[in-house]
Amino acid sequence: MSRQSILDKLTLNHETQIKKTLEDLEAQIISDIAEHKKLLSTQPFSPELLRQKTAITIQLRNDFKKQFQNTFLAESDTLIREYDQLVGEFMKEFGKLDIPDKFKNLTKVDLDTISALKTQTFQGFEEVANTYLTEINTNVYQNVIGGRSFDDMVRDISGKLTGGVDAAGRPMSSHAGQLAHDSIMQFDAQFVKAKSSSAGLTHFRYAGTSITTTRDFCQRHIGQVYSEEEIRSIWSGSWTGKSSGDPFVVRGGYRCRHTWNPVDPDWLEKEEKKKEEKPIKNIFGDVADSEKNLLKEAFGNKVNPITKVISTIPALKKFKREGGGFYRSSEDLLNMGSNHADNIEQLRTFIHEYGHRIDRQLGAIYLKDKSLLKKYGKNTKQKIIDTNFQSISHLQIQSLIDDTKILTKDLKKRKDAFFLENKRVQMDAPDLVTKRVEREKFFKNLNLKEKVILSDDEIKDYLKFNKRSYGQEQIYKFKLKLKHKIFDSYGGQYDSQFTTAFNDYIGSITKETIGAGHGKYYYNQSPNIIKDGVRTFTHRQSLEAFANYTQMTYDLNTVTPVMNMNVRNIEKKLMEYYAKNTTNSFNNFIKEFDKL
């Protein structure tokens, strides 16, 4: 059984077990009180009766304490002992990694760490027990002295343990259930981190699966590999359900099911090389001679979702390399253009135009085989399907509408806030000419405080990639744009801190209310799909959105001659942040391609 399976099994079992224990505890406490039912229910009030009742509440306190110890705390202790299963499995997996042998066994320090972590976990259960014990004691005393009925008292206690709410709005069973879950995950996380750091591993992959309640934040990072420094920077941001603490321990927040697994960037490189060394023949299916080599250059020589989908469409009929790039569907003609300045840029155009080709070709297949609807347009309204259908991206036009609403809502206010904030900072900043060093330091300090979806290093890389200045001041300005989710430009104009593909992606979604690339005129020379309020969404909008998505998702960052950086990852985050609906819809396309 893998460590992940053990984690899944233990979190589920422990939560169930702790809830059952609390039901037993509740029954025993009520039974203790019931022994004194007659006296507790006696009225009217007299000094002698008060003395007797007080004596009983003191006796009950001792009884309750024993019950808590014998049930809840005894069970917690048993459950914590089961954490050893996790240690065992992790050590098995750790032993298979390419690390020196001396780190593959448990040392005395490891055993001390495990023991300390277990003690710390048990103390967490003790704290919860003490909190609820105090509340129950207080409640019983107040009820006895106040002369409330036995039934009322039982209802109050029952509410505290399994039914009612605590100060945070939860009964103890819910509180303890979450504690049982988080304790296992955090024990595992702390041990894994300690062991990995001792072996000198400084990079980690955020691992786990995605379910309906998975936080957007976790969703964005699943499968990604980061350095410890990057993790601390990314995790300093805020998101719904975040809990405070070390990112390696708290991960996505309360009840998070994800884990950090140690990796060494060298292993990843080796894996990547291994895959590349074994090219698979005909991964693109039947292709024309003109496109054969270009497809390999653009999309690689190993099987991936895009090679799979290309293998399902016919070979390209016509190919050109002159002027500006375009795809003409009526002739199945792809012109990758002639950009004499940079071969890589030319390949990017090829990927963009090939995105159009895939979109149109699948659209043509759909017109003959409606079963494709299940894959690419599960929830698409019939009215949309029936209006000028030409491509599969058409089926996701609602995502563009939803993103446009988000991006244009209060846009002026957000832009004003950006300008105001930027202006204020410029006025406070040390002089650009005479105090250059102090100015850089000033912006560096601001950057330490301002947290966005990208780390400062990622922003620096991205600005370099876009051939822009990448000092602390420019990084800060970029962060402010992300903070207010804007571009620093009028609609239709480029914001040069972003790539032209990203400008165009957002431009295509909002018909250039934000972003730039094709112009409103181009979009309006195209069949309408739907009208939403005053906005008309056209066929070319979804087509360009998909082509830009394809271009950025399969960006050639690893072969850029200027520099070698992971722009693909950065733009993935930007796409998901600025246009989560459209991006998720297209991510689902990629998942469907991968099933082919």
Partner: protein, 65 residues
């Protein structure tokens, strides 16, 4: 994309709220030629005509740029 075209098309958009020629995926020669043309249009203080748009790009409905 060349900075001169970004700047000039930006200026045009500020005046007329749209730039009716797609600037994505143009060759360098086309970008430079378009920038030269835009300078003239902006100096003339006028909008680009439909005929001129067609000289710079094919806007047939089956074309995706």
């Amino acid at each position: 994309m060349i900075d001169r075209l970004i700047a000039l098309s930006g200026e045009y958009i500020k005046k007329y709220n749209d730039f009716p020629i797609a600037t994505r995926n143009l060759s360098i020669e086309e970008q430079e030629s378009l920038a030269d043309f835009l300078e003239i249009v902006l100096q003339d203080n006028r909008q680009i005509t439909e005929k001129e748009i067609k000289q710079y790009q094919d806007i047939s409905k089956d074309i995706d740029i």
